[in-house]
């Protein structure tokens, strides 16, 4: 029995190591614009080696946010400080950083650890004379008991708190991405995967000999809608990511595609071609009742919900070329939104409802773009090749998308202002159709 367990653990290790390597981030642009911050390695107050270093997760999260640039911990004036009490402001006077994160990890019980951290205001500390009491430098202070399995997760939680305190924007570090992994040479080439937003804890939800497409999260982050060709035709399924329970929601003749959950999670907007051309419909997930939204002989597809749940953003070819339109569900009223460039398609709305993010084609090149819905100002964010499938982080700061790098399909990320750019290369196979989860 012990031996079996040993093998299982070994197998587990073998299976997770390449999975982790599959999504290693390479920041290609934007480090210079990031704000310096000090993340001091958390002090381990137990015996033996530290189970896992939470501050590494925090530093890596803050780097990936594109907003912050953690300083090299070896160059920090103080190390091994556990809290604000041990912080010596005068030693930090020459350090160009706005804040410092310090913390401790301490054994607390069987497989339990007490983690504490303080976020220290370095700008105030460096201003000097105005500070009467050191407590005034404390921006945030927390302590929590976690298990060994929760180290990464709690690291993301610390990052969320630090990020929100310093930017005023909610952190999106405790989120996941869903994507399709393809190994064209395999007998069963198509895999639907989910992973933490940073690529860790990669898990397979479905493997199929036929294509899998367009994963899309439910608003509660529990279910994924996706397209599967497992029965040699396009069908839409909704799968619970925890129970693995799968429900076939749409299997009409022709296209069953582009599923997108309504903000209340009860309805899917989809593309169907059962009545002729590809048109937009809504499907009540519980009753399977369909309602036709568009009616035009050209292609209508890629519905995405406005945050109020009353309109959809869609791609339509009715003007001759694919462009983005807003369609009101009650009235059916249609408004064209994009006019710049040759094509604009595959759009979604930012969580604040103020911008749309989409694929723009200009001079034959496909890149990710953003448009302000009020001013109609469009900005092309990326300069990679064959960009597609943009998906916005739930806090609206970052877009993950599919692109082609050195002849292979990979995932990439770009900040909403276009300054930070990163690539998530794959070990084996091709990765496409990323979908960023809601806050979990």
């Amino acid at each position: 029995m012990k031996r079996i367990l040993k093998w299982a653990v070994l197998l587990g290790a073998v299976l997770t190591v390449p999975a982790r390597a599959a999504l290693d981030i390479v920041i290609t642009e934007g480090v210079d614009a990031a704000r310096p911050i000090a993340v001091v390695p958390f002090v381990w107050q137990g015996t033996g080696p530290v189970p896992s270093q939470i501050s590494d997760v925090v530093a890596s999260d803050l780097t990936r946010s594109g907003t912050f640039k953690p300083l090299d911990p070896r160059g920090l004036p103080q190390s091994g400080i556990a809290s604000l009490a041990e912080f010596a402001p005068q030693q930090w006077s020459g350090i160009n950083a706005e804040a410092a994160v310090v913390g401790t990890i301490k054994p607390y019980g069987p497989d339990q650890y007490l983690v504490t951290f303080d976020l220290i205001d370095l700008i105030k500390a460096q201003a000097g004379q105005g500070v009467q009491n050191k407590q005034e430098l404390l921006l945030e202070s927390r302590q929590t008991v976690i298990t060994s399995a929760q180290f990464r997760q709690y690291g993301h939680r610390v990052s969320d708190i630090v990020y929100e305190k310093l930017t005023g924007i909610r952190g999106a570090f405790l989120t996941r991405i869903a994507y399709v992994l393809i190994n064209h040479g395999d007998k069963v080439p198509y895999r639907l995967m989910i992973a933490d937003y940073d690529g860790y804890n990669e898990q397979m939800l479905l493997r199929s000999p036929e294509p899998l497409m367009s994963p899309s999260w439910s608003p509660d982050g529990r279910r994924l809608a996706y397209v599967s060709f497992e029965n040699r035709k396009a069908e839409i399924f909704v799968q619970d990511i925890y129970s693995q329970n799968r429900v076939k929601v749409s299997s009409f003749p022709g296209i069953n595609g582009a599923p997108s959950f309504s903000p209340d999670g009860k309805t899917l907007a989809v593309t169907l071609s059962k009545d002729g051309q590809s048109e937009i419909y809504t499907i009540d997930i519980a009753t399977k009742t369909t309602r036709r939204i568009t009616n035009h002989y050209s292609i209508d597809t890629e519905p995405s919900w406005f945050p109020d749940g009353r309109s959809l953003l869609i791609t339509s070819e009715r003007g001759g070329r694919p462009q983005l339109y807003k369609v009101e569900l009650d009235s059916g009223k249609l408004t064209r939104l994009t006019f710049d460039g040759e094509w604009n398609l595959g759009g979604s709305i930012t969580p604040d409802g103020r911008h749309i993010v989409f694929v723009n084609r200009t001079n034959g090149k496909f890149n990710i773009a953003r448009m302000d819905l009020e001013t109609r100002f469009m900005q092309v964010l990326t300069s990679t090749r064959l960009d597609e499938s943009p998906s916005v982080a739930p806090n609206g700061t970052m877009v993950i998308y599919g692109t082609t790098h050195q002849g292979r399909q990979v995932l990439a990320a770009v900040s909403m202002d276009g300054r930070f750019k990163a690539r998530l290369p794959v070990g084996q196979g091709e990765v496409k159709s990323p979908s960023w989860s809601p806050f979990l």
Partner: protein
Amino acid sequence: MELNKLLKTLLVVAPIFALGACSSTDSASDASGSESGMDGGSYGGVETGSAAGMMTAEEQARMKQEQLRRENVIYFDFDRSEVSPQSEETLMAHGNYLVENPSVRILIEGHSDERGTPEYNVALGERRAKAVAKYLQSMGVQPSQMSIVSYGEEKPQDLSRTDEGFSMNRRAVLVY
């Protein structure tokens, strides 16, 4: 001496047999008769030639149709779904066969290259498959003989991501 005479006779007779074999067969397997001709040519390093098989016009037409039907991929221009004039001959061969054999069913797969978005490409692939189905239907193929699936950009034939590769991927495939 006797042997030599026999050999000489064989050299003359063998090609005639070959020719006969050729004209009597109605299969498309061997139009030139070169295989049997080579048998005759194996004596003393001599090679023989033969006339092309005498096929009726009908036989020739049927053979050509069979050859065309082996072509089951129709290619399209970028973002277009019209059947090109170059593809019409191939499609007509399939159409004729399907009209003559109403019990035969086909699946028409629509595909696109990887430019644009995956879901737009599914719609584009379906439009291509439908263009093929419409062409065949205009020849008299029954709609019940044809079904359609669009894979969009998900099943590329060529993974080079070059312009040539893209043109190989913009296709409809007729699957019997």
